[in-house]
Symmetry: C2
Subunit: 535 residues, 2 copies
């Protein structure tokens, strides 16, 4: 498949940009080899951003009226068109990201499964949270009106592709799938590290839109490396919500721009997390080695490039030497892990710089490394070690180091363990390794941790985010800008909707979800009772 390097706006390859010889462009780099990949991808200017968003706004009035079955067919078709790209997609994604084909095959499966999950969710239909309070004309002192409320799409959504999941959190990733499912057109800004992968997937979405006769403006994709491109997208008055996964700095900049608009809009930015793991004494005594092996696997999985990477491990040295042994073993296992290719050279260079910052702090020791491996983007896993006094006194040790590393913290007392928990900022997850006794004795720790995170894990590791109804992938700031929503699982559709209430309207004007006969057969709250019945 020949890549064209052009933005895809409302189903068309925007020609004016390609004809503008002075337009800035970007190229992908193979992080394993340093090779620059063809072609050049045109960076968007304000005119492209406007064209994409205005096409989305124009398509919204039509797209939101499509039936759930029609939108579901569109989502299913996107999945089929992604599959039809075959190994060519995986090869290009691997060349652009350094990720292996097996990982990418799995991620493609997850991406398609997400699209299908949202298709089934909207076919079933109860997610609209329909509520009906029927009228009582005889009520005194005033008659009671007929009120019918449901969730409706909020409007065009801007989605930013993430570097670390070039398929599942990128062009056709969770935010795009949930926004399209909700009834919102989407404008994607592709991540500049995998523009070719993005182009291929964007083509699949456009083909699916054409096949299922969706308005062309339902999807557009632009490229851009400069912050100005993303900011222009977020500032466009017709954009009504933003999904982003990436760094704290970039996510906060988008949030600030959105909050400063004449009409502020929600920004769902997932930005960073160190995903603390607390290894409690009972578990340590029973299966310290097994926990060390699990930790090593979680820290080094995917060269540590997951937002759920466990970057902090806290244990209690109660004099029996067990946590010291655990640390030694975990550090040894991590240090033995071969280096891996990170997603792009800049990410590896950032990891090296962060590791250097940690190493320079008095009291911090390390195993493994040096962090800089061979080639333009190889990183070597590292385990850092520090005591709780030093950790609590050095706020920068609590900052995320993106890559294959973790920090092992030894507390001298139960109080220090609790102090570390209480001092945590917001994170996506926290993990408890413990046995039944530990759980009994450390209830206060769990009570503290649940206020800090979106997901609490028992005797597992944070990497591996299940895509299902009950997942919560989010958490208090700075893990995200909005702890009230999730970026993974069916509840992610709530990001792109708002409620509307119809008062005293005849059936003919109401959406089918609110008709007396309940033709969609959905669960509704009717006069306070949950039912799938008619009125």
């Amino acid at each position: 498949m020949t890549l064209h390097g052009k933005p895809l706006i409302a189903g068309l390859l925007a020609q004016w940009a390609a004809n503008n010889l002075t337009a800035p462009s970007l190229r992908a780099v193979n992080p394993a080899t340093g090779e620059t990949l063809e072609p050049a991808f045109i960076e968007a200017d304000e005119a492209q951003v406007s064209a994409a968003v205005e096409a989305a706004a124009g398509a919204f009035a039509e797209y939101r009226r499509r039936t759930p079955a029609e939108r579901a067919a569109f989502l299913d078709a996107i999945g089929r068109h992604i599959e039809a790209l075959g190994d060519g997609l995986l090869d290009r994604a691997s060349a652009e990201t350094g990720l292996g084909l097996d990982r990418l095959r799995g991620e493609r499966g997850r991406t398609i499964a997400q699209l299908r999950m949202f298709a089934r969710l909207i076919e079933e239909g109860s997610w609209v949270d329909a509520r009906i309070d029927t009228a009582d004309p005889s009520r005194k002192p005033a008659p009671k009106p007929d009120l019918r409320r449901m969730l409706v799409p909020i409007g065009p959504a801007a989605v930013f592709g993430a570097s670390n999941f070039p398929l599942a959190f990128s062009v056709a990733g969770g935010d795009t799938a949930s926004a399209l499912a909700a009834g919102c057109p989407v404008v994607v800004k592709a991540h500049p590290a995998h523009p070719g992968t993005s182009e291929m997937v964007a083509g699949a979405i456009a083909a699916a839109a054409a096949e299922t006769r969706m308005p062309a403006g339902v999807f557009s994709m632009i490229h851009g490396r400069a912050p100005a491109v993303g900011l222009a997208l977020v500032r466009h008055p017709q954009v009504k919500a933003v999904g982003f996964t990436g760094s704290l700095r970039a996510g906060r900049a988008l949030f600030d721009a959105a909050a400063a608009r004449p009409e502020p809009i929600p920004v769902y930015a997932e930005m960073g997390s160190i995903n603390p793991v607390f290894v409690l004494p009972g578990a340590l005594a029973e299966r310290g080695r097994q926990i060390a092996e699990g930790l090593k696997a979680s820290v080094t999985l995917g060269v540590g490039q997951f937002c759920t990477n466990p970057g902090l491990v806290v244990g209690l040295d109660d004099g029996d030497g067990k946590f010291a042994d655990f640390k030694t073993e975990a550090a040894r296992l991590i240090a033995q892990t071969p280096p891996g290719v990170m997603l792009y050279p800049g990410l590896r260079d950032g990891f090296v710089a962060e590791a250097g910052r940690f190493e320079a702090i008095p009291g911090v020791s390390h195993s493994g490394g040096p962090p800089k491996g061979d080639g333009p983007a190889q990183a070597r896993p590292m385990a850092f070690s520090v005591d709780a006094d030093t950790f609590l006194g050095q706020p920068e040790l609590s900052q995320e180091m993106f890559g294959p590393s973790t920090l092992l913290v030894t507390a001298r007392s139960r109080e220090q363990v609790l102090a570390i928990a209480a001092n945590l900022a917001g994170h996506l997850t926290a993990t408890i390794q413990g046995n039944a006794d530990d759980l009994e004795q450390w209830r206060d720790l769990i009570d503290v941790l649940r206020e800090k995170v979106g997901r609490l894990i028992f005797n597992g590791f944070p990497t591996g985010v299940e895509v299902s109804s009950a997942m919560q992938h989010g958490g208090p700031y700075p893990a995200t800008t909005d702890p009230r929503t999730t970026s993974v699982g069916t509840a992610a559709i709530e990001r792109f909707v708002r409620p509307i209430c119809f008062q005293d309207f005849p059936q003919a004007v109401l959406p089918p979800e609110l008709h007396d006969k309940n033709p969609r057969g959905i669960w509704r709250l009717v006069n306070g009772e949950r039912t799938r019945g008619e009125i």
Copy 2:
């Protein structure tokens, strides 16, 4: 009942402020007479704000663990203690607001009913949106974990009392009731126009907290007129959400302060709305006079001091003179309505200034007025009239004029009606007056309006906001800062919560809502199916 004028912080009257003779203070003014009312109320300083919020943060860990039945008992007790204040509460509220005793009696009933509604909601319990995906240890390639997700309280909430509902949107109003129901401690900043009413209700809440053995920090109230007090409250790092009803200027200032915090927090500000009414030709022909009478009643109800006051009426002059007749009749009825006392002199002065601004615009005519009535706060109802060309060319005619007035706009064509709708900013409501033919012929108008508002009303008037499950009281900016939530009805509890997911935890650690046996008997989503059953 003797009023003390002190802040109520965690169940105690803060003495240090009372002992500070230089502390600024405020007094209420009777808007009917201009009389200054005793006593002086101490304005909060930063120390008071911190004390209140820190008490709330301290109480949160305990309060959020109280069972739903315990929290419901607290809410019910608040209602009883408000009732026990008897006519003294109504007398003081009337003196501070100029509202009549019947209106205030009704508002008290609504306030108590709201508290009880949330008590029943949390007793029933399904609002937590519990979702359970059970484990599958044999799944390949990776075992499926057990995931259990529910909504939990977000943390201490700051609530700003509104001037226009001294009971129902004030100290124990909807935001306080929903936040307390969700499990969030509340710090109220009382509205400076009714400090005595606020003190009495705050005392009722504190008494209810003591009676039901809630942690004292679950509720505090401070006074303040200076914007700095409210800003200090919103900026306090332990405040996690903000509820506000008032002006666009004040609401936006709070929103901006919250967005600029190191940790941004949600602000639910309801700020203003002109609640457009579209009078369609069929309805006009059938019952123009009746619509004019209903409009007059809605415009002048409560001296026009409702956020749902219909401030804009649009009709089509198709040459038969019917809309001209309607306008004449509506303007006559409004102009005949006697003046009324507004909530405080500043509000009346604002109304007079806004009316003067309208009158000065060429092409705007009016009936009724002069807007300034007798006494310090009397306002006289007014009806303004303008053609659509002038209206579309003068953006300031689209701004809310708070008080007993409306603007009647005559369109020359169907296209002008649609242009007016398309140009609308966000509002709480829009209303269609029409018959079956109108609905058929004006589908495009309804399609435009539903993107502009939170509630669409057919053949009614926007004043009168039902408190129930299906109500949506909110809307796109600038009606509110967050169209995703409501300030009225059971769904308002969603403002003060976030989801948390427990992965692979034993039953003993899980909240009862997530236990296999479903001891709370709530509706849950178990492996994608809605059920009240056990697992």
